[in-house]
């Protein structure tokens, strides 16, 4: 699975421009899919399974997009001013490297400020792609780029940009591959534009019209020095989400996921996240309502170019999803 993860995290796909990632995912899932389509916003929707008597229409969602930047102005010396796509922290930018959709690479530089201790504002940053004037700059206003880092394999721990949410995309692909016997009609949605407001999942959920929705996303942890106070930690298993900044999971689903994990001997954690949300929060609001929950993969340093996950958490997450999908879901 590490090779699949590497391929995914090292692709460029900021919100709105996910097609490179989508092509990678399509190649991986095509041999295992019963049906495959791309909707109006670019979501990839893959069906597996036929609904049996005791089955439901289940929608899973992991988002393909990552946070990034978009060029707002090319100055007369070829430097590029930019703004964010999704929740980029300016403090993570200086000295960082980016890669545009057209392959051009560059580095983020900073204006001079009164003191080196002050945090930068985005207006004080720019990108240098090695151009010397507006005319010879290979980037134009509106071009998008993602952060550029190769994946780092530390054994059990993997570090890369876009672990949010390519790690879940990988987990979802793996689940799709290994799912053999299910009473459910399962829609594996690889969604777009989550980082800018859960837009892809809003449309995908309306189109799929599921009976139950489960997002697969990352969540933060409370296990780093003087970090946020939170019970979730790396290496303790996937987290079953109880609530986050914009959603309360359906208690029946929480209970079922907990029972499933305990019965199958899968380690798990319970997650309360203050701030941040996932596709599940909009799936829930679709049409006449959809009971929804989320299986979260714990992740450190979220929205930085070096997000860290534990591969064992990912493997347990896949096991948990397979257990849930292979059995009836009582609602």
């Amino acid at each position: 699975m590490k090779e699949l993860i590497r391929k995914l995290v090292e692709s460029v796909g900021p919100s709105g421009y996910e097609h490179i990632v989508r092509d990678v995912v399509k190649d991986e899932v095509a041999p295992f899919a019963d049906e495959l389509r791309v909707d109006a916003l670019g979501n990839l929707i893959v069906r597996k399974g036929v609904r049996k008597e005791n089955g439901l229409r289940v929608m899973l969602s992991a988002h393909m997009d990552e946070i990034g930047i978009i060029a707002t102005h090319i100055d007369e010396n070829g430097f590029i001013r930019f703004t964010m796509v999704g929740g980029v922290f300016p403090r993570n930018c200086p000295g960082g490297r980016v890669r545009f959709m057209n392959g051009v690479q560059g580095v983020i530089g900073t204006e001079r400020t009164e003191s080196v201790d002050k945090a930068y504002m985005i207006e004080q940053l720019f990108i240098d792609v090695g151009a010397s004037s507006r005319a010879d700059c290979p980037v134009k206003v509106g071009d998008v780029a993602a952060f550029d880092r190769p994946m780092l394999d530390l054994g059990n721990r993997l570090v890369a940009k876009a672990m949010d949410d390519r790690i879940s995309v990988a987990a979802q692909i793996e689940t799709l591959r290994r799912l053999s016997d299910t009473p459910h009609e399962v829609y594996f949605v690889f969604s777009v534009q989550e980082e800018v407001g859960l837009r892809g999942a809003t449309a995908a959920a309306y189109g799929v019209d599921p009976d139950v929705g489960i997002a697969v996303d990352i969540t933060m942890t409370g296990d780093t020095p003087r970090g946020m106070k939170m019970e979730v930690a790396l290496g303790k298993g996937p987290a079953i989400k109880v609530r986050d900044g914009r959603m309360l999971s359906d208690p029946r689903l929480i209970r079922h996921m907990v029972e499933t994990a305990e019965k199958a001997g899968i380690p798990y954690q319970l997650e309360v996240l203050e701030g941040g949300t996932t596709d599940a929060s909009v799936i829930q609001l679709t049409r006449a309502g959809v009971p929804a929950g989320c299986v979260s993969i714990p992740c450190r340093y979220v929205h930085s170019p070096s997000e860290m996950v534990d591969i064992r958490d990912v493997q347990h997450a896949v096991r948990l999803l397979l257990e849930i999908l292979s059995n009836p879901i009582p609602l």
Binding site: S15, G16, Y17, H19, V38, D39, A40, L41, G42, N43, I70, A71, T72, H73, D75, E76, R81, T83, V85, M101, E123, K140, V141, G142, Q193, V196, G197, R199, G200, T202, A203, A204, Y206, G207
Partner: protein
């Protein structure tokens, strides 16, 4: 996607008649939630050319020009009728009324202005304390909304009621190549959409949505899109031009759009990341017909597209705006040439668009 055919009908122009209609629209008062005055003007203009025209539960005016061909694209164009303004929230002694803002009115532009209140456009003022009575310290702080009232005059208690809306009292005028008026955001879009409906091509179903409550969250657009179920959508709006000189002569790098550079095509704002297929179609159309255009600087702001593209199972969308300075203040300013070029771009785009535009899945060309 290259436009398939050359246009066959006549390009609509911006002449005296169009400017007079814009004048009527700009002088009308239609604060979000109270769009009736503009709605009636649009109805009057289009009732003889519409195939279908109806209001919905929020007050949107939906106008359809049906296709005259077998198979056709359903193209929705949304232009919002509402403007930012005020609502009277409390009546005090002697003709004074407390008010709150509706939509993003610029707070620093309130004091010392005349306003029109209610359906009869009664005059009032948002007065400011005389400078003689202000300490040097006070002059340094912004005037707080707490201390501002709409004054209808000592005998004006009956000229306003709690719940009435109010707007800046700005009368539209033409000044050389420019137009000055209130609510150019988005009466420019409304006026343009009226012309597009009058010159609609035969091979598409044109769904002209004159929407409500855009300024308070694209509320009207979301239900309009749900009802119309378009194949694709264009939000037609007006966007700020901050093309003023920098205070110390540096390059202005955050102008958003510039006056005189033509219609502004959106790549991304805070509410929508435009569909790349539609962006490249509009750019190709502009280049083919030699229409000047600009790319609006990505970042903040929003249009009706923000609600439309998320409707049902998703709608490919893009926004096009006429640049205007000083939006959300008493006096906006735009160039007639930008208006003319925006109309031309959209006219040709509608004439030349075909279903093949949605053949490939959403990706950069």
């Amino acid at each position: 996607m290259k436009p398939k055919q050359q246009s066959v009908t006549r390009l609509p122009l911006i002449g005296a008649r169009q400017v007079a209609l814009l004048e009527k629209l700009s002088n009308a008062c239609a604060v979000s939630g109270d769009e009736g005055e503009v709605r009636r003007i649009v109805q009057d203009e289009l009732k003889s050319v519409a195939d279908e025209m109806k209001h919905d539960a929020l007050g949107n005016l939906l106008v359809i020009r049906k296709a005259r061909t077998e198979s056709f694209l359903k193209v929705m164009i949304a232009a919002h009728m509402d403007e930012v303004g005020f609502m009277i929230v409390d009546k005090e002694e002697g003709g004074l009324f407390r008010f709150e803002m509706v939509g993003g009115v610029s707070k620093s532009h309130l004091a010392g202005k005349a306003v029109w209140v209610g359906t009869k456009h009664h005059y009032g003022v948002i007065g400011a304390k005389a400078i003689h009575l202000i300490s040097p310290e006070e002059l340094k702080s912004p005037i707080s909304l707490e201390n501002l009232r709409i004054d209808m005059g000592p005998g004006g208690s009956d000229h306003a009621r709690v719940g009435d809306r109010a707007t800046f009292a700005t009368t539209f005028r033409r000044v050389g190549p420019s137009l000055i008026g209130k609510a150019l955001d988005n009466r420019l879009g409304v006026a343009t959409l009226i012309e597009l409906v009058k010159h609609a091509p035969m091979h598409i179903e044109l769904q002209a949505a004159f929407t409500v409550q855009e300024e308070i969250g694209a509320r009207g657009a979301s239900v309009a899109a749900y009802a119309l179920q378009p194949d694709l959508a264009i939000a037609l709006d007006s966007t700020p031009a901050y093309d003023l000189p920098d205070w110390d002569g540096q390059e202005n790098t955050r102008y958003n759009t510039r006056l005189g550079f033509g219609p502004a095509i959106y790549v991304a704002d805070a509410g929508t990341i435009s569909d790349p297929r539609l962006i490249s179609f509009l750019v190709a159309t502009a280049e083919q017909y030699r229409i000047p255009y600009q790319i609006r600087q990505p970042g903040g702001g929003g249009t009706d597209a923000g609600a439309i593209h998320r409707s049902r199972a998703g709608v490919p969308s893009v926004s096009v705006s006429i640049p205007g300075r000083y939006a959300h203040t008493p006096a906006g300013l735009c160039r007639i040439s930008d208006w003319r070029h925006t109309l031309a771009l959209l006219y040709h785009a509608l004439q030349d668009i075909t279903p093949s535009i949605l053949e490939t899945e959403r990706r950069m060309p």
